[in-house]
């Protein structure tokens, strides 16, 4: 057992490689690194660099743009959390579109990670009667309030447990990520997620070249292929550099707060200490790291 041996994966690689190479008929960009690589968490620095450079080169060809695909890891001593003041949100959807632009979401078909739900003040929080398709000359519409929903980055995420191949997981800083190259598109996670936070690429995503955000993260906003699942990553490409997510910066009423749960002087801790806070579907014990609060 302790003698060096050919692992099962290596063997499969070699076998499948031969078969695939025969099938592909010597197609040059059919690389071993890309197709027969290991799980993301087991990749070596070199393998990661190769994958990142490949995505950068692909973007250059496709969009004629120099992009950087980073792999900034989680920082020690950081547990991210988010808070949203529903007494302030006016339902203007600025956050939805800032998110689309920042995270290179498909414009056609439309993929949006944030969904703003319009609810009846009389009914309170009631998903049965929530309307994500509201349109009006002006918001807030009388008698209504607004509840934006995206991935809640649950501490005990149902999506992660349901994925049969381990293509989605929780990072050490609390961000739930997806490896788009590992996702097999079975959509188990979508049916497991109680918050409807995940989106599936039914068709080839389209992204106009002049609207590509060149600051990318390998587990975040880099372009996704058809047939995989995607969702909010709290702008992993920004927050791991110390910046606020795009939705926080764009919200005109300042309803969105973000920071480090472990830092007692952070905005997020202030909210948890001093405001009336709740999480969505608390009874499901997914323990969201996304807190809603009443700031008024």
């Amino acid at each position: 057992m302790n003698a060096p041996e050919t692992t099962r994966r290596d063997m499969l690689c070699t076998l499948a490689g031969c078969a695939a190479a025969a099938l592909a008929g010597g197609c040059s960009d059919f690389t071993h690194t890309e197709f027969f690589r290991g799980h993301f968490k087991e990749l070596s620095e070199d393998e990661l660099t190769a994958i990142r450079e490949k995505i950068e080169a692909e973007c250059k060809t496709k969009y004629d743009k120099d992009v950087t695909v980073s792999n900034t890891p989680a920082r020690e001593g950081v547990q991210f959390a988010y808070a949203l003041d529903i007494s302030r949100c006016v339902g203007c959807r600025r956050c939805v579109y800032a998110c689309v632009a920042e995270n290179n979401q498909s414009r056609d078909p439309v993929v949006q990670w944030i969904r703003v739900l319009e609810m009846d003040k009389e009914k309170g929080i009631d998903f049965e009667h929530a309307n994500p398709y509201y349109d009006a000359e002006t918001v807030p519409r009388p008698g209504h309030f607004y509840l934006p929903v995206a991935c809640q980055h649950c501490a005990d995420p149902a999506c992660v447990k349901s994925c049969p191949v381990g293509a989605t997981w929780k990072e050490p800083d609390g961000i739930v990520v997806i490896d788009y190259d590992w996702c097999i598109g079975c959509r188990c996670c979508m049916s497991a997620c109680p918050y409807g936070a995940r989106r599936f690429n039914w068709k080839e995503p389209s992204l106009p070249a002049d609207q590509v955000n060149a600051n990318m993260h390998i587990l975040g906003n880099r372009p996704r292929p058809k047939g995989v699942v995607e969702k909010c990553t709290w702008c992993v490409q920004r927050v791991r550099d110390g910046r606020y997510p795009a939705c926080v910066e764009v919200c005109p009423v300042g309803a969105r707060k973000f920071g480090n749960l472990l830092d007692p002087s952070s905005e997020i801790r202030y909210v948890l200490d001093k405001k009336r806070v709740f999480v969505l579907k608390n009874e499901l014990a997914t323990h969201p790291r996304f807190y809603y609060f009443y700031g008024l």
Partner: protein
């Protein structure tokens, strides 16, 4: 095992006595803070002094300095009244039953605001004036929780003055046009 427990109890008693003795000089400054255990904020953490880095006040064009029109020899009329000669565009919808111009603007020094107690406040620090009545919002704002922030969650943040978002004379937000809704999912034929 028994011996162990007994010894632990005795040890605990000793520690308790020592703690009591130490507590006697608990007011001594050097005992107040345990620097080794606490969180050390980064160099850019918001300072605790009362002045914050905020953008310049959003004056209407050509309005400042006020003293340009309100010259020293212009008589000061402190009577509460409807303005007819100037500033007619200002609609006061801010506790207008109880407030008017000179409650916030300083009659003696037009380029300045003043607190209720008379202390002058520059326009750049108007948040101190707002904070007199809206203490809870002021507290939240200083902590970064009321209002819009940009920049870094772990460092330099951009703050805005209250008046960058709220019109001081009519602070309630006007409703705005929402961006378009997402398309409804198509029906499969």
């Amino acid at each position: 095992m028994k011996f162990d427990i007994a010894r632990r109890t005795r040890l605990e008693a000793l520690v308790a006595v020592l703690a009591l003795v130490a507590g006697a000089c608990g007011r001594h400054e050097s005992n107040d803070l345990d620097l080794s255990a606490g969180w050390v904020p980064g160099p850019d953490a918001p300072s605790s002094d009362s002045k914050l880095h905020t953008p310049p006040p959003p004056f209407s064009e050509g309005i400042f300095p006020c003293s340009e029109c309100h010259e020293a020899d212009m008589p000061v009329n402190t009577k509460r009244r409807e303005l007819s000669m100037a500033h007619t565009d200002i609609v006061l919808k801010h506790d207008e039953e109880h407030r008017w111009c000179l409650d916030c603007h300083d009659a003696a020094d037009r380029d300045s605001l003043h607190l209720a107690g008379g202390d002058k406040v520059p326009f750049e620090e108007s948040y101190r004036l707002c904070g007199q009545c809206h203490g809870d919002k002021y507290r939240d704002w200083r902590a970064g929780v009321h209002g819009r922030r940009g920049g870094n969650w772990d460092g330099e943040k951009s703050y805005l003055l209250c008046v960058n978002c709220h019109n001081a004379h009519s602070p309630r937000f006007a409703p705005i046009k929402p961006l378009p809704p997402p398309p409804k999912p198509e029906r499969t034929p």
